[in-house]
């Protein structure tokens, strides 16, 4: 039996505002419990929510970036349920008329093709607080600092057909919100999290199967593993004569499995109705145009530009446009060097990326500035140093030993390009290795590399490799 997986994702992105969506309380992460929860966030009697304009602007920015319709009029609704981290007994959300409708996002699949994933909607809502279940004498502790943090819930169509596609979509959306500067994208802190609706059906069946919703997946890896487990579970269940029930499940990363949440209490009966405390949100052309004017160059467009403008491969362009900061850094290197975009790309995606990775740093915290890297590349370009020596200089740059020129001077790394000096070294090496010379001249061509190695060693790596090759070729002929 061939099975097809059907996945839709609901992604919650915390919007990077300074204050909450309906109150003037701060949303800084990691504050002392309940020091950022004001009367509105606590649902005190008599308070009124007032919408943070910036949250609406950010939602519109996302909508414009995914080719969505921006609702000129959207409505806030109450989603009613009881949980201690939701003090009002309802969450302010949007239901029938969300601010963003019908968008799309294209993802690159492993086989190199593109697939367009529909985005059903994106709506504004408030986050809940946090429940701490560690032991407080048999009670739970509630921190309401997060209550009222603006969220954009982005709902995809059930267009995803594998765990890998789901992850690709999630990564693409993550890249987008971070590019837009509307979300810090920090998944450990819960700024970007995901619920996955997963079902399976027999290949060719026009009907969707019954779906299970896996809640609160906060890493790309967990999304992939949770979906893979869930798909397997559902197929096994159906093939052994069982039936999938619609329910909410939690992923346990330690066991690598999904588990049913108490389904009895999970009566998804939220009794939405328009929130009488909030009037419809009306957006005019000026507001939408201002949001459009604030859009940065989007990832796909930047990637395409890097390919055409700098002659980069699709792969390199993709790596370099993974984040806005990395793209900016790369372009700053090219600008400072005044050309050689391929050389710049090799160094940014190669040595620099490796060092950043090793030290677990972001490009913004690189100890080597774009200008300093360009300074190093300039010395490769004008043959002051070889590519190999450049790696040594780069390490010194990384360690903060000044700019490339100072390091080259101080360490005496200047490449030897003086022909007579190189010839002298070559003569010495040939004289010291008469056996190898004889073998080479007898036809053992492979020994050429041996001589190159010896010359480079004797020159402490400073001899210009191209000149060494040319001169050695001549000399060995005899």
């Amino acid at each position: 039996m061939e099975w097809e997986t059907v996945i839709g994702l609901e992604i919650h992105a915390q919007l990077a505002t300074k204050s909450k969506i309906f109150s003037g309380a701060a949303i800084a992460y990691g504050a002392e419990p309940n020091t950022q929860a004001c009367a509105i966030d606590l649902g005190m009697p008599g308070v009124l929510p007032v919408l943070n304009r910036e949250a609406a602007r950010m939602a519109v920015m996302l909508g414009l970036s995914i080719g969505a319709e921006i609702a000129r009029r959207s409505v806030f609704a109450r989603k009613n349920y009881f949980y201690p981290d939701l003090p009002k007994g309802y969450q302010i959300s949007q239901y029938e008329l969300p601010i963003v409708q019908k968008g799309r996002l294209s993802i690159d699949l492993e086989d190199g093709t593109r697939k367009v994933i529909g985005v059903t909607r994106a709506h504004l809502e408030e986050d809940a607080g946090k429940s701490l279940h560690e032991d407080f004498h048999g009670q739970s502790g509630i921190d309401l600092n997060r209550a009222g943090t603006p969220l954009l819930e982005i709902v995809s169509e059930p267009d995803l057909r594998s765990a890998k596609e789901a992850v690709a979509y999630m990564k693409k959306l993550h890249q987008m919100v971070v590019y837009l500067g509307i979300c810090d994208g920090n998944m450990q802190e819960g700024s970007f999290r995901c619920d996955a609706n997963v079902s399976v059906r027999r290949k060719g069946d026009p009907q969707f199967g019954t779906r299970a919703e896996i809640k609160n997946l906060n890493s790309f890896r967990f999304v992939e593993r949770a979906i893979e487990f869930e798909v397997e579970r559902q197929i096994d269940l159906i093939e052994s004569g069982g039936k999938v029930v619609q329910e909410t499940r939690l992923y346990d990363p330690d066991q690598g499995e999904t588990r049913s949440m108490r389904s009895k209490e999970e009566a998804n009966d939220y009794r939405y109705f328009p929130d009488p405390d909030l009037l419809p949100l009306v957006l005019d052309d000026d507001f939408i145009n201002a949001a459009r004017a604030g859009l940065p160059e989007l990832p796909d467009i930047k990637k395409q530009r890097f390919i055409t403008q700098y002659g980069l491969s699709a792969y390199d362009a993709g790596v370099l446009t993974a984040s806005r900061e990395l793209g900016d850094y790369y372009e700053a290197v090219v600008a400072a060097l005044g050309g050689e975009p391929k050389l710049c790309a090799n160094w940014v995606t190669g040595d620099l990326a490796a060092f950043l990775n090793k030290d677990n740093r972001e490009i913004a915290d690189s100890p080597v500035s774009a200008v300093r890297l360009a300074g190093l590349l300039r010395r490769i370009q004008d043959q002051t140093i070889s590519g190999k020596i450049a790696k040594e200089v780069f390490e010194a740059l990384w360690a903060g030993e000044g700019d490339a020129d100072a390091i080259i001077e101080k360490r005496g790394l200047r490449q030897i390009t003086d022909t007579s000096a190189i010839e002298k070294v070559i003569d010495g090496v040939i004289a010291a290795n008469p056996d190898q010379l004889a073998q080479y001249r007898a036809g053992k061509d492979k020994l050429f590399a041996f001589f190159v190695g010896q010359v480079m060693k004797a020159s402490k790596g400073k001899a210009n490799p191209q000149q060494v090759n040319d001169l050695l070729m001549e000399k060995l002929k005899g």
């Binding site: 505002t17 300074k18 204050s19 109150s23 003037g24 309380a25 701060a26 002392e32 419990p33 309940n34 020091t35 950022q36 929860a37 004001c38 009367a39 606590l42 005190m44 007032v50 919408l51 943070n52 304009r53 910036e54 949250a55 609406a56 409505v75 806030f76 009613n80 009881f82 949980y83 201690p84 007994g89 008329l97 429940s131 701490l132 279940h133 407080f136 004498h137 048999g138 009670q139 739970s140 502790g141 509630i142 921190d143 309401l144 939690l250 949440m261 108490r262 009566a267 009966d269 009794r271 328009p274 009488p276 909030l278 009037l279 419809p280 949100l281 009306v282």
Partner: protein
Amino acid sequence: MSLGPAEVAKIAHLARLAIRDEDAPAYARNLSAILDLVAQMNAVDTAGVAPMAHPLDTAQRSRTDEVTEFNQRERFQAIAPRVEAGLYLVPKVIE
């Protein structure tokens, strides 16, 4: 449309309202009467009438994104039944 005792019990549970069994028939009657009113309104031809989200015919005001609230935790927690380490304590909720 008429509601039975089971539906009344479900609605009460969703709203976390404790109602006495002997009051259930009265609730069922009153709620059914409200639904009848809605059914009556539903019968009106509303084609071409935009749904109303709010009786006030105006749009939502918004505020600029500024932090205007300061920490008043002590005052809020003075009226809480139980607090510890800055947290509000509530009966254990298990997921």
